[in-house]
Every structure is written in C-alpha cells, then in structure tokens.
Symmetry: C2
Subunit: 650 residues, 2 copies
C-alpha cells in the first residue's frame, strides 16, 4: 500500500488571484496580522489585554511580573507566526511583517529554557508542575503550534532559527515521553503536537519525531485512563473547574483510537487528533489507522455536522453530543473546529484521492471559517450559530456563549489567529499532487506551479465560483506535458461539462474527479456547470431541522438577516417550490449574490391582547425576503436576528 | 383600601374527595412522607444520601461527623415537616406520621442554639461565618421554611413546641437585621423568610415579624448592591462557583422591588419574593407594592411562562431570560418555580378578588407541579421540559440538566418535599373567603366548611374536571344563609351554564366570577360547560412555538409520548382542523382521557444514503397519534421521547 504521502504543493507555488478570496488575503497581510501583533503586544486600548508577548518577556527574564491569560496563551503567538509564515510564502515578501516575526522569534528563543522546554505558563507560574497535568496543562498543545509555526516560517523564509528552537523542544519531548520504562506514559489532553511533530519530521527527516507522534496516537485511551490517574496525584491542581468529573471522551481518550467509531468530545481536540491519525497513517502505511479515520470522518460529517460545516453541538464544553443532534441557536460550532474539519478532510482527500472529502472541506471554509471573521478583519466569532435572536443571547444564561456581534478579541483567543493562519494558507486546500497527477479541489482563481510526471507545469485558474459555475484552466509547460490533471466535480454541480482546448470530454468520474490527460505544451480546459440557488433539506432525523429548508448556492449556505427581512425570522414560512431569484450586487458586502424570494409570515396581529397562549388562528401575510451568504452575516447591522433554516410551507 | 387580607380557609376545613387528586393525597400520606422520612434518615440504599437528619444530630451534639449536603439541606426537613402538618390538617389524624414529626421537632429543638440560631451548615461547618454570606448562605431561606413548617404543624396539631423554636429564631432575626444602625442591613440571597415571617405574624400576632418581612422587602436592591459589597469582605468564601461575576438580578436585587417591571433572575427566588411582596402589601395596605406585584405577575405569565405553567427558560442558573424566550428542550422550568407561581397567583387572586390569577395557578398545578412527581410518588423531576429527546440529554453537555426519567432523590433535593407540601395543602388553592363571600377557584371535589356573613356554611363539591366540565355544589347551613358564593369561570369553559336549585342564572361575570346569592338553608348549584380538547397556539413572538400547536383539555396540557407514537416526534405535522377524539380509559395512567387524532409524518425513507443534507423532497405519511396529559408523561416507559408543541400543517 502506498498513499499519496506528503502530496501538498508548497504554499509558495499557489498564488491566489481570486476576487472572492483576495478580500481575505488582503485582510490577512494588511489588517489581521498587524492588528493581532498589536493585540499580542497589548498596544490596543479598547481590546481585552492579551499579555501574550509580555508572558514571553517575563519568561525570558526581560520583564518582571506574573503570567496572565489562558494556560495556552502562548499559542496565540505561535498561530500568528504560522500565519505570517504562510502569508510570506503565499503572497511574497513583506519586510515589515518579516521583521515583526523575527522579533517574535528572537523573543521565543530567549524564553526557551536550556533543556528545550518552552511554555511560559509553566516557566513563570509553576516550574515544578511541568508535564504533571497533561489533561489541562496544554504544554504539548502549545509545543505543537510552535512546530507548525516553525515549519511554515522556515518554508517561507529559509530561516532556521525557529526550526532549531522547536527541534530542541521536540528533542526534549522525545526524551520525556515514550513507552519505555522511566519515561512519562502520558499524552496530550489537547491533541495538536502530533500534527506538529509530523510536519517537523517532514521538514527535518528526523524519524524520532514521527515515532513520537505515532506513540501519542497509539497510547491514547489504552488501559486505565491516563488523565483520571493523573488527577489522583497528591499535588494535582485543577486548572479548569468545569473539568470536574472528567469525562475521558472529552479528549478522545475513552478508547484506543482505532476502536473509536463516533466523533466524541471537544470538537477541536477531535479534529486535530483525527488529522494527526491521518498523518501517521499515511507516513507509517497503517491501513487500520486510516480505516479508523474513515469511520470517524463519516460519523462526523454524516451525522454530527451542521450544513455550514461546523461541528460541536453543545455550547457547554464545546463538544460533540450525539448523532443528528444539531440545535441551531445554542450550539458552539467553533470556528477552530471547522478549521480542524478542513485540516482532517484535506488529509483524507489527499490520502485516498477521493474528491468527496473536499465537498466538506469547502463547506467548512466557505461558511463557518469565513463567518468567524468580520469583513474588516477586526472582529471574530468563536461560536457560529445558525439562528440568532440577540435578545435571548444573555449573559448568565445557557446562551451566554452565543454572541450576536463579532468580538474584537477574546481573553481566550484561539480563533482569531487560527482563522488568520488558515486564510493565509488557503492554497493548501486548492490543489495537491501525486507523482503523475495534479488534483484541483477548490476552484479558486490562482496560478499554480507543480511538477507532474517530472515536468513543471503551470496553471492559470480563473473561477467565477461561488457566484457562477464557470472555471477555465490554462495549463502550460516548457516541455511536452505528461500525466493527468484531475478536476473535482463538486456535488452541487448540475450538468457539468468539461472541454479541453475546445473538445468535449467524457464525464466519467474517477473517485469524484474527471481525469484529463496532459499533453503538448499548452492546453485550455473549460469547466462549466449550473449552480443555481437551491433549497436543501436535512435528514429528517435531525430534530432541529426537520420540516425546514435552507438555501444554498454552490458551496455557500445562505441566511436571512433582520436588516433585510425584519425581526422574528422564526415566523417565516417558505414553500420549497418558490422561485429563488439571484442578483449580483456590487454594492453590498463587497459584492455578493443576493437571493430574493416570496414567502409568508404569521402575522402578530390578533395577539394584541398580549397573552401568550390561545385559540387564535394563524394568519399569514405574503412577504418578499432577501438572503445573503451566511459567511457575511453580522457585517452590516450588529445585534440583529439571523436565520439559516426556515420553516417549510407545504 | 382594604384587601381580602388573610382570607384563606384553614386546610382542615377543606376535605378533598376528588378522584383525580386523591391519587396524590394517598401518595403524600402513605408513600411520599414516609419515603422521604427514610431518605432524610439515610435508610434507603439505592438513593443518594441525604444526611439531613444526621446534620441535625451532629449540630445537636448527638452524633459526630461533618456536615454533608447542600448549604440549604435543612430545608428538606422543614418542607417535609410542613407537608406532614398540611397532611394532618387536611386528612385527619395519622399517629405514625405525627410521631415521626414530633421526633423531628425534638431534634430540631436540640439543634437550635441558645440564642435561637438554627442552621446546621453554619453550626457545624462555620460558626464564625454566620450571616456573612447572605448571598449564598441560605440561612434566611432556611429560617423561612422552618417558619412555614411550624405554622402548618401548629395549625394541624395545636402543638406549640416548633412554634416556640421558630419564634426564638425569628426573635434573633429581629435582633440581627433591621435598618437601625448596628444591625445588619442585608437581606436574603434567596427570598423565603419573608413569607415565613408573615405567616408567623398571622399566627402569633407578633407585629415585629411582619415589620421585619416588610423591612427585607423594602431594603432589597436599594443603594449599592448588598451582595456585591458582601463579596468584598476579606474572609468571604464563595459557596457556589457559578456565582462568580454575580449578577444582582439573579436574586432580584438589581433594583428596589417597587421599580422592578420584569420577572428576572432565578425563577424560584423571584416567585417567593413576589409572594412575600403580595403578603406585605396586603398586611400593610401598600397599594404601590401591590401594583408592583401586578406588573411582575403580568410580565411573568404573559411573556415568560410556558403553556404548562412553568417558568425559568435558562437551564444554566435556572432563571428567567427575556420576553417570549421559551425554548422547549433545554429549559429549566423547575417544579419548585411553578409551586412559587401558584403561591404568588393565589395571593394575588385572593387580594384582588380577580379570577384570572387562578387560571395560571391551576395551569401550574395541573401540569408542571404534577409532572414533577411520578405516579408512584417515588420519582421526581426538577426540570420540566416540553420536548425531550433522551439521546440528546447527555452529561457533560448543555442539556445535562434535562432528565428523561424521574430521579429517585437528588443531592440538592428541594423539589420532592416542596411538591409534597404543595399536594398536601391543595385545599388552599380550591377556595377562599372574604367576610361575606366564599370564592370557589379550582373545581376539585371536596367538602368545605366556612363562615360566610357570620354563618357556617357547608359545601359538597362534586367535580368531573379535568375530564368533563361538570360541577355540582350542594350548599347548606344550619341557619338561613346570607352572603355570596362566587364561582370562577375558567377561561377554557365554553357555553358555561349555572343553575341554582334548578333555576338558570344570569351569566354576568364580576372579575371572572359568577356571584350566587346565598339564601335559605340548602341550595344546589349546577355548573356545566363544554370543555373539549382543543388546539392552542402561542403568541407568534415566541420563536420556539410559532407555527406549532399544543393540545389542551380544560387546564390540562397534553403531550405525545414515544410509547404511543414512535420516535422522532419532531417530524410530526398536524392540521389545526384535525378532529381530536377523546376517550376515557380506566386502564392507563390510573384512568385518564386519551386524545387521538390524525396527523402526518415526514418519512425517513429517501435518506437511506445516510447523508445529512440534500435536495430530497419531503414525503409524508398518514399516522394516527395519541396524546396523554403532560403531567403523566414518563410514567410508562422510561427514557423515551416526549413532545408538547407539534408542528402545524397548514
């Protein structure tokens, strides 16, 4: 067995030229990264204090004071640095950003301890507690983010300093953890170091890093639960009060990973673990582990995922619940969890060569990941509900986690830098390759360079997605081309037609792709399909959505906003036979296709008595409604109602 | 102004003979009280340990050990004792129960400290912390329950010992609390002592008890918030971690009570406070305070109450949220809060002479209060959702508070003894009187004795409610009767007809009552109305219910259960024009009227692919459904689906 191992195309070889996505590219480089740098440095007045850089200064002995922030506060800097790395790789040189990053790296290096240890919470706060609370301490999680950041920055700049820092850290981990007697037999309470170790292995060739990642995967959930045992230490100190009566499934440690059949626990932990399992499976040729990944993926996307590609139905503990339990107004659906879903799906798609994985990657990226960030790049959602009634999103209640306005920054700020690094590395989701085949997954206008069958080919992709199903790909090479160009046929493409340099093509799909044989030195591929706005139903087992309709267009989920449609969106009824009218409007939301349609609402008249219950007949009025892409909600008015799933009038 | 002050008829003068309610009378005396006595004494093996009696023994010096249980664990015993008092008063002598109660009283007296202090948590655990954490400490709450219990037991038995105990306690409170300098200016974090003090005043005539109740009402929410100030004490110790960032509206201390316009915070706290406000208003002839009660009542029942008479929409912190926010599957809707609603409504109805208050009292009692207790008296719901999908009611998630099976006992066990005392004192809700008028509110078959216009009249009420709208009242006296008998016309009574000794009566209503002039020495009143099962809508502002229907019959809300209707009740659609067929069946649920009707369901076929989302058309099938009274749900099968609000097929 040989999978498409390490099949990514370097970010630097995928230059995005897309109008839909370039808004975000510009935000990442020009707004988000500098803004977050200011936040990390506590330079902004009307934003919650981060203290992240200050913690590093204290740990480095350059400043005095106490650690402040979450136990995993360091990862804000790591994810920021990774975003800088991706941005520099993808979009070319930016001396100012590189200088900021080099300054950060100098500081990180100074904060690192002589033995390689690097975690400012424990360095400052509790040096005697290192590795003693793996359940909550997040040291390994933090280490993983530094490794990912180091690889991204090194690949972008060729500068080794941060790679050397994380190799020292990784070497320390290899000394501390392992199955051998005398080593710690624990594993991360929050998976992440595993994907970091695999990346570091790929860039350094140091096999012990891969071995440690595999060890963490293999030992997880084996025997007496490590975290429940760890709690019994005499000097154990609880960090998160809500972890009392700890449930091992929260960290996917309830069973050995190969025996897990359902997506359980904290959604981000789950998605990061599954991504690592896929990495280790492909690197170690482990079919059993890959099969476990397939089972978990299927449960996640076919029974526990929102139509917006978000996961984690429970507001409390940000976790999976049970199959088909997808409430729309009190879910967590964390931005970071959708990023994790995209990470996992990309790996599975590349390993198996099956296009279907990218259907869900695309769903997560176009909807929940983008909804997580304001169109000005300065506000963020952690929680991504599908139905918001701001009045009911109150502090001190069950819906306190749901915000009807993007927040400037968060005390626990995992999402903003995670979104930034994802947007900066979007290229990784667009295309990948095996030796003789170049796969196109997401049709984002871009210029790609890749070696196929030993020859460098250059692609110029022009895509009108998500507004129209129209893609053209110019392929050329200095040599006679060989091998295959594989085009993913999205599940929503109606009447797909492909022509190559004017000649039609047999549309026979292979794992969801159409294979085009590369030949000559220049080819023009045209891919066209219908992509009208459409109504979507959920599986009737989803109690929250049965009898309801959502609108999608291509990969985009649409939503109703109060600003267009008035309040009380819950009283709207739509026939599935209603015509959906599309209109591209350059003047709203940076240019977007609005969808208008006829519907009915239950009138509030007749209830003027002010009573709550009665034998009052429902009386409907005709209304004309407007839907906009879900990813753009909350960018015009703040604190207004929003709704994805509308009641169906049969 | 003179209100109908202190207008209750003694429990002992209302003997209930009703088949619907006598099931519960028998449970209270023969099952619940003895069972709870065993629980309080830790005599049952498969039930969570109460430790309640043991705490008293330790406080009394009769046993050694630590305090165990909630900070308000003592109130389990107080409410139990109150239930015994009510039971003895209502249903006559029971030597065994009286012996248990006397044993309990002896123990309570021994636990009381020389200065009158009585709270085993602080006596055992923290004698130096008395009155220092009024926000969380529950000492005043506990005192109130002892006062209520003492009055009930004294009125039933004439035995003074427990009255003397609570008078010593009340005297201590009068010394400790008050507006005078040198006294503590605090007030209860959980209102309850105020209703207790008023009851104690009424039975002893000791005006200072009323004055203290009035003081607690008047000082609440005035100036800098007492609880936020209290937290600043150097030795302050938090009891409930979830009270961090304390929100004063949680305990209705965000504003002076007269300025409060909306029902806020913890629902039980709110209802107990409002009840006390009504008590103080009537006893002190305080129109402003009564007007505040009216505003709060209206907000509560017309904007924040479930159709089942429950309150407290937020699962987290068991509290009110905002107008029209009434989610059905994640609400708290505590049994105790509905008891509080009944307490408040009874007071408002009696004070104002307006029948409408009893519409909601009846709603709460027939639905949420009864649903709180299993038909065998041995299981209890704290939380009373209107929609349950057991698979989704998982630990470690946002729905961890929702149980799909009644629990045997609870670590924090406020509801079971509260339900017991309420069922034992049901008579208080049936009738009350002013000097010249006897009001009938709830038509529960019973024999009532009361003085009207100076003469003792005896009523024999025979009622077929809730199954049929048929009530007969035989009224007699040894003397020529004078005054008025007022019959409440329930809001659901269709075509009501009243005849007196055969002669029809003008149905002109006065504040929701029909007045019947009492004359001669014997009269027969017949009250008949139609009460067919009916569909009910909610106000369309209720996002959770708009486009849905509930079934009611008289005061009863009906529910669908999985045992009758299969699973996935969310995919049921019912036309509001469907005929509801009623059938009384002696063989289910102790004899009940079932309602059957035709409906449609969305088929799950067509989704065999196992996918979550798609362009699959909804396909309906015809089904015949059965609804049973909501109060009886979960008494046949355990852990099955239940649903009140069904989707409407228009």
């Amino acid at each position: 067995m040989k999978y498409n191992a390490n099949s990514s195309i370097p970010i630097s070889d995928i230059k995005i030229t897309d109008e839909f996505w370039n808004k975000y590219r510009d935000l990442v480089g020009k707004v988000i990264i500098p803004y977050q740098w200011d936040v990390l440095n506590d330079r902004l007045e009307d934003v919650e204090t981060s203290h992240c850089i200050e913690n590093f200064k204290i740990a480095a002995g350059l400043s005095n004071g106490k650690f402040e922030g979450a136990v995993f506060q360091d990862t804000d800097l790591a994810k920021w640095l990774e975003a800088v790395g991706f941005y520099l790789a993808a979009y070319g040189c930016d001396e100012k950003l590189e200088a900021m990053a080099d300054e950060a790296i100098d500081l990180i290096e100074k904060a690192q301890q002589p033995d390689g240890y690097l975690d400012t919470f424990f360095i400052i706060n509790a040096p005697d507690k290192k590795w003693k609370n793996l359940c909550e301490g997040h040291e390994l999680y933090t280490a993983g983010h530094f490794m990912e950041a180091a690889v991204a920055y090194y690949e972008a700049t060729g500068k080794r300093k941060i790679i050397d820092v994380v190799c020292r850290l990784a070497d320390l981990l290899c000394d501390v953890f392992g199955k051998e007697e005398g080593k710690c037999h624990g594993y991360p309470g929050h998976p992440e170091v595993e994907v970091g170790l695999v990346k570091l292995y790929r860039v350094t060739g140091e096999k012990k890093y891969l071995d440690l990642a595999k060890h963490f995967i293999d030992i997880r959930g084996v025997g007496d639960n490590y975290f429940l045992e760890e709690e019994k230490q005499e000097d154990f100190e609880r960090i998160f009060p809500e972890f009392i009566n700890y449930d091992p499934s929260y960290s996917q440690s309830h069973l050995p990973v190969r025996q897990q059949k359902t997506a359980e626990g904290h959604a981000v932990r789950a998605a990061y673990l599954y991504s690592a399992m896929a990495d280790v499976a492909v690197e170690t040729d482990d079919k059993e582990l890959l099969d476990a990944c397939k089972v978990l993926w299927d449960d996640m996307v076919h029974r526990r995922m929102y139509v917006t590609g978000s996961i984690g139905s429970s507001g409390w503990l940000e976790r999976f619940t049970t199959d088909y339990d997808l409430p729309n107004d009190c879910n967590y659906s964390e931005s970071c969890a959708s990023i994790g879903l995209a990470m996992f799906g990309k790996r599975m798609g590349e390993i198996t060569g099956e296009a279907t994985y990218f259907d869900e990657v695309e769903r997560a990226l176009y909807n929940t990941v983008l909804s997580g960030i304001a169109m000005d790049g300065k506000g963020f959602f952690y929680v991504n509900p599908l139905e918001v009634w701001p009045a009911a999103c109150m502090d001190h209640t069950s819906r306190l986690h749901v915000k009807s306005e993007r927040q400037k920054w968060f005390g626990v700020a995992c999402c903003p830098p995670n979104i930034a690094r994802t947007l900066a590395s979007l290229g990784q989701y667009i295309a990948y390759k095996s030796k003789n085949k170049l796969y196109l997954n997401m049709y984002v206008s871009s210029k790609i360079k890749a070696e196929v069958s030993g020859k460098e080919v250059r692609l110029d992709i022009k895509s009108e997605i998500p507004w129209n199903g129209k893609v053209s790909v110019h392929v050329e090479s200095d040599e006679q081309m060989e091998g295959t160009l594989a085009l993913r046929i999205p599940y929503y493409a109606k009447n797909p037609k492909i022509s190559v340099s004017g000649a039609g093509l047999d549309m026979k799909q292979d794992k969801g792709y159409i294979n085009i044989t590369l030949s000559s030195t220049s080819m023009d591929v045209s891919f066209e399909f219908d992509m009208p706005a459409r109504f979507v139903h959920s599986n009737p087992k989803v109690r929250a959505d049965v009898g309801k309709l959502a609108i999608m267009k291509g990969p985009l989920v649409y939503a109703l906003e109060q600003v267009d449609n008035g309040d009380n969106l819950a009283n709207i009824f739509v026939s599935g036979k209603t015509k959906l009218q599309e209109e591209f409007d350059n003047n709203i939301l940076g240019g977007t296709t609005r969808i208008t349609f006829n519907a009915q609402r239950i009138k509030e008249e007749g209830w003027d008595s002010g009573k709550l219950y009665g034998e009052v007949e429902s009386d409907f009025e005709e209304v004309k409604l407007t839907a906009i892409p879900y990813c753009y909600w909350g960018n015009r008015q703040k604190n207004e109602e929003m709704l994805v799933w509308m009641k169906e009038k049969f």
